[in-house]
Symmetry: C2
Subunit: 284 residues, 2 copies
Amino acid sequence: MRPDLARFAINQITTPNWTMAQAIEGYAAQGVGGIACWRSYLDEYGVERTARHLRDAGLWVASLCTSAWLNAATEADFDAAIEQNRRILDNAAAIGAPCVVMVVGGLPPGSKDIAGQRARVRDALHTLAPHARSVGVKLGLEPLHPMYAGDRSVLNSITVANDLCDELGDAAGLVPDVYHCWWDPAFESELRRAGPERILTFHYCDWLVPTRNLRDRGMVGDGVADIARIRGWLDEIGYSGVFELEIFSELDWWTRPGDETVRIGIERCTPYVGALGDTAKDQA
Amino acid sequence: MRPDLARFAINQITTPNWTMAQAIEGYAAQGVGGIACWRSYLDEYGVERTARHLRDAGLWVASLCTSAWLNAATEADFDAAIEQNRRILDNAAAIGAPCVVMVVGGLPPGSKDIAGQRARVRDALHTLAPHARSVGVKLGLEPLHPMYAGDRSVLNSITVANDLCDELGDAAGLVPDVYHCWWDPAFESELRRAGPERILTFHYCDWLVPTRNLRDRGMVGDGVADIARIRGWLDEIGYSGVFELEIFSELDWWTRPGDETVRIGIERCTPYVGALGDTAKDQA
């Protein structure tokens, strides 16, 4: 039986050696429903050309990755980053992406003030919210694993991300990721608190034991995250959105041909990306 | 002026190439007040010989590191690990260590059930509590960084550690560590919740940017953790206990001569390990 991939997307960073055109063709060829696009590939291929190619290939867009970092050392550079993020939101709208994944940057150069930088990021999100609303693209708050707090994002907790969503209303939502959140004792309760509408897309991947470096994310099934249980929580809260494969893997998956990564990714994700779990309940 | 090192200890893993005897002599020679001992060195040198050497050198003991892991796959092996931890508590008492640092292990082999393993660890701590009380040694709960949840410890949050301390009463306390907790938005509030008596020893180190692997802990001052601010919190809550330097550093500090690491460690820690902050308040 052909797998049900209507809710399944692949994040383009999973096949980093492919251009935008190759990723669109490569995913569509194997029946994947959607794609999460990255800015560097989008800029290279062009926004309009990407939008047209996506339509022609019949792929929907899960998100645009990622925001510009908000950890500038000066106020002028900070304002420039805000403006850059407005343009990124525009581009997301142009390709039909429902959200921009907010990876907000680590500490500003020379700073040790993580609480201060978190407050600054919060202000930035409030500043960006009106523009996000005006173009119909949500700020996708992705809590990154605490091991990235220094250099990639000071947003490291799904609890804090939910708090921010409470403040930002319909301008924002969550982008939970198995790799970043699997360890968190509050992961389940915060997904329940979020509810189905707030979850914009859901990242699948795995945590390897041992983990060899800070870019050693595992393919679904190769690690210790309990994907079946997590999918169960999402069904229980009525989540009907996207399941997205995203793998950063310097030592393994990034070295393989894209076709192989996509084929194995589909095999591994198929049990966890099918139709709504509550279909079964409706029939019961 | 000679630095005030009365509250300062070095954790023996910081100078892993030294034997127990070399560490005792090496720390005492430079005026360090205390030592945190590791089991492998203790077993090699002998418990009685270590206790005598510590007395002769005038060093106090901050802790014994670490507990035996509690992630056995079978109940028989789990029971054996409990019994082994009782003997480790006995050894801690014999060398005058006020606590055993509980590094509880990651997931059992083949398991993806982190919530189940956390429940099992909780049960184990309750099982160990009476023996801990009877020998006068506390269970030192050290929340480990979430990046170690798979393979070293499923206890990854100071909030959960405080919850466990609430349950375990005077059988347990906290061993907070800058490297493990610096990123946590709840670090300050959970230290305030703990209060001074519950903190058994406090680990200094730093988070490097970039962090190159999972054993790349920084020397105090080389990273992005705000040690001065953290020391300020501890003074505000009235903490009068130990400050302990602990560095895991495969690529740097572990390759250096022990004397050099101790000398630089003292230089870097001196601003943060002096007499009680509230001495100043008493005089004000």
